[in-house]
Symmetry: C2
Subunit: 311 residues, 2 copies
Amino acid sequence: MIQTLRLGIDIGGTKAAYGVVNHEGNILAQGNVSTRGYANVDLFVETLYNAIKQNIPAILYEQILSIGVGAPNGNYYTGNIEFAPNLEWKGVIPLASMMKEKFSITVKVTNDANAAAMGEMMYGAAKGMNDFIMVTLGTGVGSGFVANGQLIYGHDGFAGELGHVIAVRDGRLCGCGRKGCLETYTSSTGIVKTANDFIAKYEKASVLNHQVISDSKQLFEPAKQGDLLALEIFEFTGKILGQTLADAVAITSPEAIILFGGLAQAGDFILNPTRKYFEENLLKIYQGKVKMLQSKLPENDAAILGAAALE
Amino acid sequence: MIQTLRLGIDIGGTKAAYGVVNHEGNILAQGNVSTRGYANVDLFVETLYNAIKQNIPAILYEQILSIGVGAPNGNYYTGNIEFAPNLEWKGVIPLASMMKEKFSITVKVTNDANAAAMGEMMYGAAKGMNDFIMVTLGTGVGSGFVANGQLIYGHDGFAGELGHVIAVRDGRLCGCGRKGCLETYTSSTGIVKTANDFIAKYEKASVLNHQVISDSKQLFEPAKQGDLLALEIFEFTGKILGQTLADAVAITSPEAIILFGGLAQAGDFILNPTRKYFEENLLKIYQGKVKMLQSKLPENDAAILGAAALE
């Protein structure tokens, strides 16, 4: 039987996950390679190609009709990755054309968060929604804005960089060179910095005392145990996220905001303070109207499914 | 000859301007009535109806096929005006149904800034653009966001409230009850407050010394004469506007931002500092790409033309 298969690739700051997706949104085969430590991008494309050829059964690979890539600062219109702060490849990387040459298959590229939004809209928590915001809380903070049932790519293909909205004027230095970007506070790395800052100054008893936090997941268990310092760290992070999301609502007035990525896995520990400060900071006409949801797709699959669906 | 005529109505904090528009975008007849001092909204609708019947020649009135209204917090989906801070009518006003009953013609309502955006897209500075932001700097600050060639109404019809994005956290008290909204600084009333605050504290010589400013236009002539205090007031206002617009670009990545309304008439005195701080605060990928333009439509006509075009 002939199937319509697509290859979805999610490129992140540490790894690139790929999967072969059928028309029902099932991932038939998948794998990943590192995105760090290559002398140049050609070597990465070469490595990715070899891994895919090796891991994807030939009977599936032969049926792949198109490749979709979600990548930081991926540009839908040009197929380039341009000035991605979280990747080792600097400047403008013509990823779509490089990959097309290697794979001999049509390649579409977009922002990894836009890809996640596509995945969520087709198979996840945003199914049937025409207006929503997808927020990815990973190594960085990304976003995909859907309005009138369509992804907002913007004039240049770079719309949806909520992670680089200034959340705190003159705040923390960001990888982008500016100060106070949302992602310096609410990415996995942002909350880790908050945690270590708070631990250094905390004078009461906490299971976190004298610990060095390197992963936001280290905060989940203390929070579950009701550790006040852990809860304070989530409260601080949720406040900044909630405030910034309240401002974003004033622009696109979505039905829902969907949180995705490592930090979103903290569930209610991050969702509750985010919701609280979000509602408090909303303009009256939006209060009580906007759902704040956790992604319904498995961590890796949303972006793969979304990328695969690019057209 | 039978024409396709539409009636466009622009409702603002002080007056409602109306005009009969033909298919080429020419306003064939127009007028306005106050929006203040009515005991209830019915009296306003009655007054508006009578004024239109009296001032619009019957031969034109008879050919009107539809009515479009741009109003603060006007909701495209419901036809209501809801909780508009700058109008005397509080709560939810079912304007479209009230007007339809009175005029016996189909009535569509939207945000006045959305209407201005429609006017600008069809006849003004945004002609041919698919992605732009219209910002109205009037009694309040409004905005219309166009992405993928469509107005963003949002899930509830209330998208595009850039005037209520928090420009300065814990800043000036806004009519909406929150603090630091963009409109408390960059509306006509916002810059008037800035002017009087700055004058009170200024210790050097200025033509503005000891003056009380009640209209932003009083600052235009001193600025033309190079008065440093007047220029400082525009600089401060442009800084806040530029910073906030830079954040909005990170969401919809427009081709242009179009400034409209009383304050925009200050031309380069407001445009230059706004452009400067806008560029300084943009994420690198957007720098040098986004045009900052002054509206090309006459002050009153943009919103009338836009409202008339609502479908």
